[in-house]
């Protein structure tokens, strides 16, 4: 999958979260990591790529097709994607199973038995079949994130967008969620991952987009980025983070 961002600008009030971000991945990028210092614009770019946010200026194209900016088009586009955020993803009033099955029924038009079967299939795949009927508050943080991943995967998304899916978890739960993401990456799922887990990004990503202050300062193949970053900021970021891990 080829992702391209052209002059992307997104402001919140007077603050530029993205200011003219530009990048272009290779034609066959599968797992794209968004890296960079806090506040650099990773989450904002991820939401723009997934059509959760529409940029004021600029555009995104996916395999050569420009993503729509109108609400109806953006909704249709969002329905082809799966999202997992840092935390509080699941709907607290629904069981894990219903969290997955409800969007399948009401958004993707599946019948109730089909949606239920598909939800159960996903829960099983993520090792949660014995927790199907629990509410989010009855699940551990790691189980919640796995259920959120199950929900995002259930409609077979073209692109899975993950925004720091492990940053609210302790190391053990982080490990169990990263294992799941790695399996997905290896099975060929298209993924965009915003993260501070550098060593994990190094293992799974094949393309890296490095952001700072709302601009893309480096966009290159993962092997190149991690062995010889061209941008001095990226270089310092990598050195700083690898110091303690």
């Amino acid at each position: 999958m080829k992702l391209e961002g052209i002059n992307l600008t997104k402001t919140f009030g007077s603050h530029h979260a993205l200011s003219g971000a530009e990048f272009c991945t290779s034609d066959d990028a599968r797992v794209i990591a968004l890296l960079g210092p806090s506040g650099g614009g990773k989450s904002t770019l991820l939401r723009v790529l997934g059509c959760l946010l529409v940029p004021e200026i600029g555009s995104v194209s996916m395999d050569g097709e420009v993503l729509p900016h109108d609400e109806v088009g953006a909704l249709a586009e969002r329905r082809k994607n799966g999202f997992v955020f840092q935390g509080y993803n699941l709907f607290p009033h629904l069981t894990a199973l219903e969290n997955i099955a409800l969007p399948l029924r009401s958004v993707h038009g599946m019948t109730a038995p089909d949606a239920c079967a598909r939800a159960q299939e996903l829960l099983e795949r993520l090792g949660l079949s014995s927790h199907a009927n629990k509410r989010p508050s009855q699940l551990s943080g790691g189980q919640q994130q796995r259920a959120a991943i199950a929900r995002a995967l259930a409609p077979k998304p073209r692109l899975l967008l993950l925004d720091e899916p492990t940053s609210a978890l302790d190391p053990v739960m982080t490990g169990e969620v990263l294992d799941v993401i790695r399996e997905l990456a290896e099975s060929g799922q298209n993924i965009v991952l915003a993260t501070h887990e550098i060593s994990f990004a190094r293992q799974v990503a094949d393309w890296v987009v490095f952001l700072a202050e709302g601009k893309v300062v480096e966009s290159s193949a993962a092997t190149d980025f991690f062995t010889q970053p061209k941008n001095p900021l990226a270089k310092r970021y990598l050195e700083g983070l690898s110091k303690y891990r």
Binding site: G50, L52, L75, R78, R79, N81, F83, F85, G87, Y88, N89, L90, F91, P92, H93, L102, P103, S106, V107, H108, R135, S137, R151, A152, P155
Partner: protein, 253 residues
């Protein structure tokens, strides 16, 4: 003796009896101290009047409750509308209904507006006016509940592909419902008591019947004590029912 401090039905029963006995004794002592002379035989002939007043109060309250929930919902939704005239109308209406006394609304609503529209149905008009008044309070309770649903839930709803109506239907309203329950119950209990004001437009609801009874007998408390009990007979089950609902919809957020 820890069982006396437990939540077992037996402990609750024993404590209820002790408390009721205590309060009754205190009341009895108070009335004895002011040497109140009871005249129960004078009020007994009014029992059918009393019951008919109670049924009127019940009917008005039930009708106004249903109507007020609809009004509250519409005013809340209108107040959140992105369409300016609708938003202004709903917020202005809410402020007006909450900011003026029910008494004035009843008098103007019935003697002026309903009269101008040639509607001569005090029961119907009274019920609707009460519903409007309480609905404005409910609108604010509903608004608080809807606004308390965080941005992350709205984003999750957008992320799974819900449209705006679907987001309300599947995410915001079910969660807001539970958060609005306690406030709504309190408001509905107020509504039942506020229904007594409808006597100003000539409706003989319970309080009015008791006034008639007291005037006819030169009594005072013999009417008002059954009156209080008759209100409690409705408000207590309502409160209890709401608690059960709250427990049924309880979940950690």
């Amino acid at each position: 003796m820890t069982w006396l401090n437990s939540r077992s039905p037996l402990a609750l029963g024993i404590w209820s009896i002790v408390l009721i006995a205590g309060v009754s004794a205190a009341l009895y002592a108070t009335f004895a101290a002011v040497q109140y002379r009871w005249n129960w035989s004078g009020v007994w002939p009014y029992r059918y009047q009393f019951i008919s007043g109670w049924l009127t109060t019940l009917g008005i309250s039930l009708g106004a409750m249903l109507f007020s929930v609809i009004v509250g919902f519409l005013l809340m939704a209108g107040g959140r509308s992105s369409w300016t005239p609708v938003r202004l109308f709903a917020t202005g209406m809410t402020a007006f209904l909450r900011g003026t006394p029910l008494l004035v609304q009843l008098l103007i609503g019935y003697y002026v507006i309903a009269n101008a529209l040639r509607i001569n149905e005090p029961l119907l008009v009274g019920t609707l006016l009460l519903g409007f008044f309480e609905g404005a309070y409910l609108a604010e309770i509903f608004r608080g509940a809807v606004e308390s649903i965080g941005a992350s839930q709205r984003e999750s709803a957008r992320a799974v592909g819900f449209s705006v109506p679907q987001t309300y239907r599947y995410v915001i309203i079910p969660q807001a419902f539970r958060r609005a329950l306690p406030g709504t119950t309190g408001q509905l209990v107020s509504l039942i008591k506020d229904s007594s004001l409808l006597s100003v437009i000539g409706i003989e609801e319970l309080v009015q019947k008791v006034r008639i009874l007291n005037a006819g007998n030169y009594t005072a408390l013999e009417g008002y004590i059954p009156l209080a009990i008759a209100y409690l007979a409705v408000t207590l089950p309502l409160t209890w029912w709401a608690r059960t609902l709250e427990r049924r919809f309880a979940y950690e957020t």
